[in-house]
Symmetry: C2
Subunit: 113 residues, 2 copies
DNA sequence: GCGTCGTGCATCACTATACGAGGTAGCATA
DNA sequence: TATGCTACCTCGTATAGTGATGCACGACGC
């Protein structure tokens, strides 16, 4: 990803994470893969941003998580969206659309009114 | 603006600044006002982000600037987009649309293929 | 004359957050 | 044995937005 995009990404991680968790329970690594797939490869959140974001969402009560031993490979931490998480997702979605709309208006040059 | 939006804004300032300068020459304060108007009041870049961004764009050669005494009020620094700035604007626009599209795809949940 | 307000530019400390590197660990395969 | 993939976590660094502060000018009210 170019040097610009990593700045554009700021603030979108919770939105992206919550979005892929609408499908159901996922563990961290899998969340990153889903985001990558769904974005068409454009987004590949680094571990250094993904895990802190998951911890923060869990601390806020937006996600609940449980450790589970994989029969193969190391243990995984599975995340599930709570109802508070659903509300937060809705909020982030609204914020995003309003933001994207405002960018479009400003760049497009139509009167903002 | 909420605490989320200020993170979303990161990286968009050059795009917004260059966009309003398509109209012609503007000075710093005026650039902020235009962005505010065009965005419908959603964006109101703080001075602490606007001026450094203008200086950076000037240093990159995307903008040329001249001091001019206002007949009333203090002197103003007028900015004009260079041809390099036009190219940079096109690049930022492309980057933005690709970014916004990817967010929409990821949030929308369509296969990213 | 003097304080206050609005314009206009600039810089600073603070903050949020993305990145990459490094560490731990388990299992599979060569 | 060693290499590589999965899987988690944390740390140092860089980027860039915010609000506060400062300087300077002109206009207006008292």
């Amino acid at each position: 990803m170019g040097r610009i995009a990593s700045q554009l990404l700021k603030g979108t991680t919770p939105l992206l994470v919550l979005s892929v968790l609408r499908d159901g329970e996922l563990y961290g690594y899998e969340i990153a893969q889903r985001i990558r797939e769904r974005s068409g490869g454009t987004f590949a959140p680094s571990e250094g941003s993904l895990y802190p974001a998951l911890h923060a969402l869990e601390a806020e009560g937006a996600l609940s998580a449980t450790w589970r031993d994989g029969d193969k490979g190391p243990r995984r931490r599975y995340y599930r969206m709570t109802s508070a998480g659903g509300a937060l997702l809705a909020e982030h979605e609204a914020q995003w659309s309003s933001f994207a709309l405002s960018v479009a208006r400003t760049v497009g040059g139509e009167a903002g009114r």
